[in-house]
Every structure is written in C-alpha cells, then in structure tokens.
C-alpha cells in the first residue's frame, strides 16, 4: 500500500467515526458547532500523528507484555503537552474544549491505530496513517458540527446565515447529537452500498 492510499483509506474507507465507529464520545460531546468539532478533530489529529510516529519508532524496543502501558504513557504525555500548548496559545478554544482535551488519552482511535497500524508499520507509513485517520475524524466532526450548528442556531462556523429566531435548539443539545450522527452514518452506509 503506498502512502497516498493509506491517507485516503483513513479519510474514506476506514473513516474512524462514520465507518469504524470509534471515538463516539468526543464526537457527540464536542460537535455543538462546526468550529468546536473542527478544533477537537485537529487536536486529536495532532496527538494521533505524533503517537503513531513515536510508537512505530519504539515498537522494536518495547517488550510485548508492557506494550499497552508504554503506549498509554506516550499518548498521555502528548495529550498533556497539547493541553499546555493550547492553554498558552489558543485559550479561547481551550476554554470551550477544556474538559475533552484530557479525554483524548482514552480516545480509542488513538490506541486503536497504535495497535493496529503503528506497531506493525514503518514510521513514514504511520505518519500518513495518522494524517489520514486524523483528517477523517476532523472532517466527520466538522460535518456533524456544521449540521447541528446550522439546524440549531442558523449559524455556520459562527457566521449568521439565517435570521435571529431560526433554529431548533434541540440540535445543539444532546438529542440532536445522536440524531445527526445516526443520520450521517445511515447516509454514508447507503452511499457505500451503492458503490
């Protein structure tokens, strides 16, 4: 598999949210608007690329029995670094995502890719896998966030599209997250079957 194929694989064929159904918790919780969804996606992508790279570099040094603790230490370190950097340089985004940043540690996409891909492939391919899966996650979250934001408030990326009183608040709240996610997954499945 060449690197470009690995990249596309993560975005379309093995899209973490819409096909593999991984990382549902941040997907539901952070997509109340498009910008939040996108920021969460990018934050996860950052951790994913670096963790894939580091894990594929150390894969031969780590004994099999302690590989999961080792991976968790690497991932947790990267997430904490990300948290501190975000606090220092993008405090506004940090304030909205605050609670969900530390939870990236237990996001199963990251550990899943470390186990399923980075532990078996070379560093370059692992980076591409990280970018691909990360982009797939970001795109899915941005899409769901945009749908929820538009239906819920009439805004898109915080830009006003519909009038003041337009909006079904439900879509910004928890039920809207489940509904939107369900429909997006259904549409993706339908498109995949038609192929």
């Amino acid at each position: 598999m060449n690197n470009f194929k690995i990249l596309l694989n993560g975005i379309i064929k093995e899209n973490p949210t819409l096909v593999l159904m991984l990382g549902m918790c941040p997907t539901l919780a952070t997509t109340s608007n498009a910008i939040n969804g996108m920021s969460m996606g990018i934050a996860t992508m950052f951790v994913l690329i670096l963790s894939n790279l580091i894990i594929s570099l150390i894969k031969n040094l780590v004994p099999d029995m302690v590989r999961i603790p080792c991976y968790i230490v690497v991932i947790a370190t990267l997430v904490t670094i990300l948290q501190m950097l975000m606090q220092a340089y993008v405090p506004d985004i940090y304030n909205t995502l605050g609670l969900f940043i530390p939870l990236i540690v237990v996001n199963c996409i990251i550990l899943g890719r470390a186990e399923a891909f980075a532990a078996k492939n070379n560093p370059i391919a692992s980076i591409f896998d990280g970018i691909g899966i990360g982009l797939g996650f970001t795109l899915a979250l941005t899409l769901i966030g945009a749908i929820r934001e538009f239906l819920g408030t009439g805004h898109l990326f915080s830009i006003k599209i519909q009038g003041e009183d337009y909006g079904m608040l439900m879509f910004v709240l928890a039920p809207g997250a489940f509904l939107t996610l369900g429909y997006v997954i259904a549409i993706v499945n339908k498109l995949k079957k038609e192929e």
Binding site: T77, T80, Q87, A88, M168, L169, M170, L173
Partner: protein
C-alpha cells in the same frame, strides 16, 4: 521490561517538565490579562485607563477593590457545572456591570447569560441595587429579574452569585445567602414586564411565524413606557415560538 517502561516514563516526565516550564509563564499571563480586562469592563472603566487594584480573598469570594468601585468574583453551581461571575459594584452597591469568567452552561440556552443580564438584555441587572431589587427569578423565586428563557437554573445560579457577592461585599456575609427584603426599585434598564401577560395570550399567538416575532422585537426596542404592555406579548411570544419549534425542544428545555 521494567527498564523499558521506566525509561519511557522518565523521558515522558522530562518532556512534560520542559514544556510546562516553557508555557507556564504565558498561561498565567493570559489569565491575569483576562482578569484585568474583565475588572475594567465590569467597573465601566475604559480599557486604556490605568487602574490600581487591591486584591482580597475571603472564603470563596475574591474582591478587587479600586477607587471606581469593587469587582467581586463569586461562584455558584449552575446547570452544567461551576458558574463563576465577576460583578462590579459602586460604593452604594449599585451594579455597574458583570462578566462571566467560567461557564459550562448549555450552548444556546444557559450560555446566553453573558448577554441576557446586560443593559439591553431582557433580564437587565445593570444599575440595580441588590438591597432594593430582589436578585431572583420572577417565576418561582419571588425575585424581580426575568429568567433566561428555558434556563431557570442557570438564571437562578447567576442571580444567587450576584446576590452572594453583594452580601459578601457590603454585609461581610461570606458564607451564605440572605435575600433582600425591601421592595422599592431603581430601574435603569429598558426592561419589559411579562407578568402582566396572561398565559392565554401566549397560547393563542403561538402560531405566528418567527419572522413576525423578530419584527416585534425591533418594535420593542423602539418602544416607550406607554406601550410596554403591548410589547410584553411579543417578548413572550418570541420565547414561545422558539419553544414550539419541536416537542423535543420543550422536553429538553423543561429539564433545565
């Protein structure tokens, strides 16, 4: 096995320490900058003006004393978590302004608190004095302030925080709440008084389109005291329109 895990942990620890050292100063700078900006904002001081602030912490309250008045940090439990409010009082206890420092309220509902209680908001508290205006929501708490539509708990938490800040600052009562008893009102806001609207009116007007209510809103802005009663209807109507959009909305909001 042990060696590898230990080595990895040590390297991770070192990396974290280095990054922490690098970002620590910047993070605390951002925090104090934000606080300084908020203090000026709630005390009606232009951002360019210099302000000497004297800080004082008593229990959960932090007082920022200046010659223009005092800004008080006060925390209450909101709907989604801690709600931290900074309220500015002048020497008589009139509210000069407020700013929400920390919030985890529902976007689109409780998060509206940052605008709702401002001067041109529907639940204006600016210019009011907690000793003469009861800081509580109108429905249920016998207060004088309109709650945010469908966010009574957030409104209550917010008003409690304001009231607690007032009590702490002027009566030295830093551990609990006592509500104000006097009835006279000072009213510097362009508020409407929905209690005059009967619930029947709301139900019958419910079917009007959101566009119409938007127009009503604009009308309301231009309104004088003379037609307050008429504009009340539209205020309630707007709220009702929103709530009527879907049944599920009502369910979700009723919860809050």
């Amino acid at each position: 096995m042990v060696v590898v895990l230990t080595t990895i942990s040590v390297i991770a620890g070192a990396a974290l320490a280095a990054i922490n050292k690098y970002t620590e100063k910047k993070i605390s700078e951002i925090k104090s900058e934000k606080l300084a900006k908020s203090i000026k904002e709630v005390l009606n001081v232009p951002a360019s003006e210099q302000l000497t602030v004297e800080n004082d912490t008593v229990n959960d309250f932090i007082f920022h004393k200046t010659d223009k008045g005092t800004a008080v940090e006060s925390t209450q439990n909101g709907f989604g978590g801690k709600l931290k409010v900074l309220v500015g009082f002048d020497k008589e206890g009139n509210i000069l302004g407020y700013s929400i420092l920390e919030t985890q309220e529902t976007p689109g509902l409780g998060a509206k608190a940052s605008e709702w209680f401002q001067k041109d908001g529907k639940g204006c508290i600016i210019g009011k004095n907690p000793s003469t205006t009861r800081m509580g929501v109108k429905k249920g708490d016998e207060g004088d302030i309109d709650a945010i539509t469908a966010s009574t708990i957030t409104s209550r938490a917010f008003l409690n925080a304001v009231q607690a800040a007032y009590q702490a600052l002027f009566h030295g009562n830093t551990d609990g709440l006592t509500s104000a008893t006097q009835e006279t009102k000072i009213d510097a806001c362009e508020t409407v008084k929905p209690e005059e609207t009967s619930s029947d009116t709301i139900v019958t007007k419910k079917t009007e389109s959101p566009k119409a209510s938007k127009k009503d809103k604009e009308d309301k802005k231009a309104s004088t005291d003379g037609n307050t009663a008429a504009t009340n209807v539209s205020a309630e109507q707007t709220e009702e329109n929103k709530a009527a959009t879907t049944d599920a909305t009502t369910a979700a909001t009723a919860q809050e």
